[in-house]
């Protein structure tokens, strides 16, 4: 197991001394973060704490004030068309909050966009792969012919996930995948992510508000509080003395969501 342990500890994302600020307000104050291969890291924090900005800084959509971000050992930059960034971009998939599907294209065409950009597949194979990805995220075949405006919020997110998975990425970024979904759909989405993560061996960077998601899918949690990151497992964080973290995990919602964890069952997954 030692070999695989070593592999587990390989940092896929490495953030060092990250500073982000808007105007006079500092959002991130020298943040360090390692995300290891094969783990699911949940990122939580209050509204406006800068969760999404952290994600955007990692994937190169936001240029940080200071600090370095490396993904797969490559520094990321906001020059998204540089060869180095393109090499990274085909190894990760990003699911934005509302799915961010291209509204002028059908779902199938949306899924095929990255495939067309990076491979020279025949149209028949493109269609088969798109159909397979739809099946993977649990959408029926006929969804492929629909336009994003004809889909419900949950379906848009699934379709967005299918597009994020199009190139079989090793690393998946999810920005609040369960926000705006009803609890049943949210649970299904959590299960889907856990399932895909297990089958495909993905590393997942999950930004969320949803304490149920955290319990269901994450290995470790990074809490953005007071411009810094506090990282640990749920159990470790529940011991943390910080008032916001205490509130988050021991408030009414937190307790309810975590109550099932304290029971010695395996149903957590």
């Amino acid at each position: 197991m030692t070999a695989s342990n070593h592999r587990d500890k390989e940092a896929v994302i490495q953030v060092r001394g990250l500073v982000n600020s808007f105007g006079n307000s500092v959002l991130h104050d020298h943040i360090d973060l390692d995300v290891h291969r094969g783990e699911v890291l949940g990122v939580v924090g209050g509204s406006g704490a800068g969760k999404s900005v952290l994600l955007r800084s990692i994937i190169g959509l936001n240029r940080p004030k200071e600090g370095s971000v490396e993904v797969f050992g490559q520094p990321t930059s906001d020059d998204i068309e540089s060869p180095a960034m393109r090499a990274l971009e085909m190894r990760w998939g990003v699911l934005f909050q509302e799915g961010a599907l291209f509204s002028s294209q059908t779902v199938t065409e949306n899924i095929q966009v990255p495939l067309r950009e990076y491979t020279s597949m025949s149209q028949a194979l493109l269609d088969e792969i798109a159909e397979m990805k739809l099946a993977m995220v649990g959408l029926p075949c006929e969804t492929g012919h629909k336009y994003p405006s004809e889909l419900s919020g949950g379906m848009k997110k699934r379709a967005g996930l299918a597009r994020a998975l199009a190139l079989d990425p090793e690393l998946l970024f999810l920005d609040e995948p369960t926000s705006g979904l009803d609890p049943i759909s949210a649970n299904q989405f959590d299960e889907l992510i856990a399932q895909l993560q297990e089958i495909l061996g993905l590393t997942v960077f999950l930004v969320t508000h949803d304490i149920d998601s955290l319990r269901a899918v994450t290995d470790r949690i990074a809490v953005l509080v007071n411009k810094k990151l506090v990282i640990g497992t749920i159990e470790e964080l529940r011991e943390n003395k910080d008032p916001w973290i205490q509130d988050y995990f021991s408030g009414v919602r937190g307790r309810a969501a975590l109550a099932s964890m304290d029971r010695p069952t395996e149903e957590a997954r």
Partner: protein, 380 residues
């Protein structure tokens, strides 16, 4: 171009043994190799071979695209008994998760192909245009009724502050662009008139022509088109965005009349602002022409004014100005109407804003032609 194809990985391969009973598969079956594998597998004729075993135990890496190709190959071998797939245990869950029967119904295209499709499109456009005309006429009726009600009970229904705000936004704020463009049009008309009429030695008639064209047609038409592009589109975008944000729904649940609060101030504001803008545009156009005449013909400003006075009557000005409130009403009505047609997605706002501008410019020009016909019948 960076491409998945030049990723450094052991090459994927497959080999059929001599008896054709065993397909050995190995290497990295990943998305990077899938395009090539797809072509090569297609070249391999697998039908009617009976049982073929796929031995994938030498696979070093497998992702979902590769797994799909394996799965497809196995399916192509048919349900022939004895066809089997050997795969490292690591990749079994992936393959099993993909290997689910899915009933795929052939997709019926929304628009049938060929001649029927063209017929369908014509019919769809025709019915759509018809219903839209009916709907906009209905809207015109509603706005008319609400306007009368508003003037009957001005205290409650007439939003005076909002009207003045619209006059400022659509009128005063448009002064620079309307003035500049009208001035330039005046320069252009004068220049063309001078060069053409000089051939007949009738350069001075340029001033008459300039005056008549500017006051009767150019001033009001240019202003209306600029305002349709500037304010008509803004009306659609503003109201459309409010619809996307559900602000309109919120107003209705509070009991606010959206025509009173959103439409009437815009219509009344524009109906007041556009004639004033037109007068201003007329002046700027004549000014541009006067400057051109001074430099090209040496006609001084007082001489220009005297010439203009002989050519024009008050009626010439009025013929132009009378059209302005009508155009303003149409531009504002179409702008607001299209704004309310916006559906709850962002793309819809852009689409309807474009449509609003095209429709109002179209209607302005059609109405202008109708006015011309009417004036010529009335011999004005």
């Amino acid at each position: 171009m960076t491409s998945l194809e030049n990723a450094a990985e052991p090459e994927a391969w497959f080999k059929l043994d001599r008896e054709g009973k065993k397909l050995a598969v190995g290497g990295a079956w990943t998305i990077a190799e899938s395009a090539r594998l797809d072509k090569e597998l297609a070249a391999l004729d697998l039908s009617g071979r009976g049982s073929v075993t796929i031995d994938a135990s030498k696979i070093s890496r497998l992702d979902s695209a590769g797994a799909w190709l394996l799965l497809r190959t196995r399916r192509a071998l048919g349900d022939a008994k004895g066809s089997d797939l050997h795969l490292p245990d690591l990749y079994r869950p992936l393959l099993e998760s993909l290997d689910q029967p899915r009933k795929s119904e052939p997709h019926k295209a929304r628009i049938p192909p060929g001649f029927r499709g063209r017929l369908y499109k014509i019919g769809r456009t025709a019915t759509h245009t018809f219903f839209q005309t009916v709907s906009i006429l209905g809207y015109l009726g509603r706005v008319t009724v609400e306007t009368i009600e508003a003037f009957a009970k001005p205290k409650h229904n007439l939003r005076v502050a909002a009207i003045f705000q619209q006059i400022e936004e659509t009128g005063i704020n448009a002064l620079p662009i309307v003035g500049l463009l009208s001035f330039l049009i005046g320069v252009v008309i004068a220049y063309q008139g001078i060069t053409q009429l000089r051939q007949f030695g009738a350069e001075l008639l340029t001033i008459d022509g300039l005056g008549i064209i500017t006051l009767r047609e150019m001033g009001v038409l240019m202003t209306s088109i600029i305002i349709a592009g500037r304010s008509g589109s803004a009306f659609t975008a503003q109201i459309g965005t409010m619809r996307v944000n559900q602000e309109i729904d919120a107003m209705q649940t509070i009991g606010l009349n959206t025509v009173d609060t959103l439409v009437l101030p815009r219509i009344i504001g524009l109906v007041v602002a556009l004639p004033l803008l037109t007068l201003y545009a007329d002046i700027m156009g004549l000014l541009g022409g006067a400057i051109m005449c001074y430099f090209d013909l040496g006609v001084t400003f007082p001489a220009f004014m005297r010439e203009l006075q002989q050519a024009l009557h008050v009626q010439t000005l009025m013929v132009g100005l009378i059209k302005a409130p009508v155009f303003a009403f149409v531009i504002a009505l179409v702008g607001c109407y299209e704004g309310f047609q916006v559906e709850r997605n962002a793309a819809s706002v852009g689409l309807l804003t474009t449509r609003s501008v095209v429709e109002s410019v179209f209607l302005v020009i059609v109405l202008d032609a109708a006015f011309s016909v009417m004036f010529s019948v009335l011999k004005i």
